[in-house]
Amino acid sequence: MLTREQRIKDYEYLWKVLNSCFPVREVMKHVGLDWKEIEEKCRPGVENAADDLEFCKAVNRVFEEFGHFSHSNLLNARMFENYKKMMNSFVNGEMEIGADPEGLRPWADIFNHEKSEQFYSRFDSTEGAGRDFYRKGEAPEKPVTAAHEQAKAEEGPFVYGAMLPGRVAYFRIPSLSAERIPIDRPVFFDFYEKYRSCSDMILDFRGNGGGATSYWSKLIVEPIIPEPLTVVSYMLYCDSEYNRDFVKYGFSEEVGEFRGEKHPIEDLKKEPGLPKLSDDYLIQPTNYYKAFEEYKPDPEHRFTVENGIWMLTDKRVYSSSEGFAYFCRSTGFAKLVGETTGGDGVGITPFHAMLPESGLIIRYSGEMGLNPDGSSNPECRTVPDIECDPALALAVCLAAIAARES
């Protein structure tokens, strides 16, 4: 069992990491979350924890107070196992990532510490654990999913593609999970081959919480764009001893997810076209990465959209699904219809850090991405071109298409 001193040491380490690596401290103040207050509020729980389980719950509370802002989590045993498996399978080339697997080396390395392995092995890692901590065998049973959830899960291809009246191509894409790419790919490519073209295309991302960027770049964007496309984005980060490997690999010209350039934060104000850039954004980060995402037409799987492309959104659009919203907005690839998204989609795979005494692992977005207008993406998210009740988004979008046609 951890001693009181060890628990305090871990807690202090946690805040050192957050303050020196998690670049959204000032932005979180805008949404009413003050780190100093949260640090003080959660400290007694950590100091007075009766055992390691209570300690985990007390640390977890910090992230609950954060509202899991910008991908921030304390991994529990279930998440630890899942991430460990996933990161190792990326690095070993067992799962497609669409980028150089070597770029994720620090992500895999952090999961292979004996300390974490030992500590997490004492807790329940079954599905029922959700985001919480339980002693082995004490997590509740996985709740019975509602019948339609079940049906959805058993539907085979996750994605649904159909041609609608007016030659409107419709795709419902509920997840960008990397595991689904090989399964869902034929749904897109067979559809493209069968129809070759459409008048409009609707990409229904409602409920899509993210996954892998390569899902949308390879299956949707590259078959459609006629010319290569480069998207510029700005990611503000902290250069610190606590995230050094992640910064080195993640924002790397050679193996990172995006090509780009590192700049000191002071230079950001000199970048053109960022009218909503706030001075607050520049307080905590030390640098920014000016990323260049490149998309090349896929010559083998072509699909022509004659008029417009539309993305349906709701507040659950997050992470790499939000990355697609950003892509649509900054390139004009698609118009957005629905509800303001959940945000935090401009960046690379979230970073991790290990608390030295326990081996507990945290996760957080290592950068704060900017919207095309310079506002903070995790804070301001993406406001659709046509805002509506998300439950009506498909009808609203189709009505907009019909109105244009008439």
Binding site: H148, Y160, A162, P165, Y170, R172, A395, L398, I401, S406
Partner: protein, 417 residues
């Protein structure tokens, strides 16, 4: 404050209604709910409750045993076969609503028919008892006046049943191809008059279409008049008749009601009445024999939807999108579509309990707490319970895909022509 004896009397009265008037014994059995065990389990918490507030909450725990797993976006909770204990917010909201009905807010409705419902709500004991509690709480909560925490107080603008009436209830648009789409959020009886203007104007602008799509996926009910007058009538060349079959247990608690409502005021057994003994129930293949044990009689209701030739809509084909949230008179609509073939249903199996009359009110005699339940057991055409099984769509798919699936079918059908 209620005495222990008064609470015991109410507890017996509650279970008398639940066992003798609420015709779901067979469904409960299949769901593994044993009424005797329930009665035993909740007796002490109810009778030994420390004050009136604790009593109400303990009674509500009994009702919670009948919850159904439907997830409405506004947190609305559904209980089997319209069962509900009126919490103060709903009690006052229903009183206000029935008073408005009596004043003519539900146009074309027979005002006198509302009398038994409002009488239950205006029972002297009820008025006195509910007066102790905070009237503007969120759904399902009981608090003494002045003691409700801020997060238990409701935005007064929002009706506890139908939500914010300043938000549009219908959305009418033309979709690509000559296809019309109408989304109907609820069948709120108070909005019939306002929505009629919107819907009839839409028909006037688009009097003919290849397809009409009615989106009921989030529609939890309201009034049958809404869909029969505003949606179905205008599409008809002539009146459309259809029958619905419902069973019920007749006893001294409810005999008068059934005779007045279903039997032209005639005594049950009178050959000129319409109520028949359950032994004469027509053959239906999937009837649960065990469910009939609780039912003594049935009524074959003859319904007519009148053709509205003043606001005509010529629709080539009609589709209705449904989900498990479709319930009550919205379910009545789904059941109507299925049995008459007026519309093709697309989506997931519906929530049910749409075959039957307005749910009944009962007052617990000592406290005055008011409860509600469906007094009838509605039969689907195959004999299954509508409350238990809902309606199976003609084209089954995940409800969130229903519009796309429907439009894809229209696209494919159009290609064949």
């Amino acid at each position: 404050m209620l005495t222990r004896e008064q609470k015991a009397t109410d507890y017996e009265a509650l279970f008398r209604v639940l066992t003798e008037c609420y015709p779901v014994a067979g469904i409960l059995k299949r769901r593994g709910i044993d009424m005797d065990a329930l009665k035993e389990k909740h007796r002490s918490p109810v009778i030994d409750s420390e004050d009136d507030l604790a009593f109400c909450r303990a009674v509500q725990d009994v009702f919670s045993e009948f919850k159904e797993p439907a997830a409405y976006p506004d947190g609305h909770q559904r209980y089997l076969s319209h069962l509900l204990l009126f919490e103060p917010a709903r009690y006052y909201s229903y009183r206000k609503m029935y008073k408005a009905f009596m004043d003519g807010a539900w146009e074309n409705a027979d005002r006198e028919a509302f009398r038994p419902w409002i009488e239950a709500l205006e029972h002297e004991n009820s008025k006195k008892f509910y007066d102790q509690f905070e009237p503007e709480t969120v759904q399902y909560e009981f608090w003494y006046k002045g003691q409700a925490p801020a997060d238990s107080l409701r935005d007064e603008k929002k009706d506890v049943v139908f939500g914010d009436r300043s938000v549009p209830n219908v959305y009418c648009r033309v979709l690509p191809g000559n296809n019309l789409y109408i989304y109907v959020d609820s069948l709120d009886m108070m909005r019939i008059a306002g929505d009629r203007e919107i819907i009839f104007e839409f028909y006037r602008q688009h009097p003919e279409c290849d397809n009409l799509i009615l989106d009921f996926r989030r529609n939890g009910g309201g009034a049958t008049d809404y869909w029969s007058f505003l949606l179905v009538g205008p599409t008809l060349e002539e009146d459309l008749q259809y029958e619905t079959c419902m069973g019920f247990p007749v006893n001294e608690l409810n005999r008068e009601y059934f005779e007045a409502s279903f039997n032209h005021g005639k005594a049950i057994g009178d050959p000129d009445g319409e109520i028949r003994p359950i032994s004469e129930l027509p053959d239906m293949p999937e009837v649960h024999r065990e469910d009939l044990e609780q039912l003594t009689h049935f009524w074959m209701e003859k319904n007519v939807v009148k053709a509205d030739k003043e606001h005509p809509l010529r629709a080539g084909k009609i589709w209705a999108l449904v989900s498990d949230l479709v319930y009550s008179s919205s379910e009545g609509f789904a059941a109507f579509c299925k049995s008459t073939g007026w519309a093709t249903l697309v989506g997931s199996r519906t929530g049910g309990d749409g075959i039957g009359e307005t749910p009944l009110h009962a007052v617990l005699p000592e406290s005055g707490l008011v409860m509600r339940y469906s007094g009838e057991y509605g039969f689907n055409a195959d004999g299954t319970s509508n409350a238990e099984c809902g309606t199976q769509p003609d084209i089954e798919c995940s409800a969130d895909l229903a519009l796309a699936v429907c439009l894809n079918r229209i696209y494919e059908d159009g290609k064949e022509k």
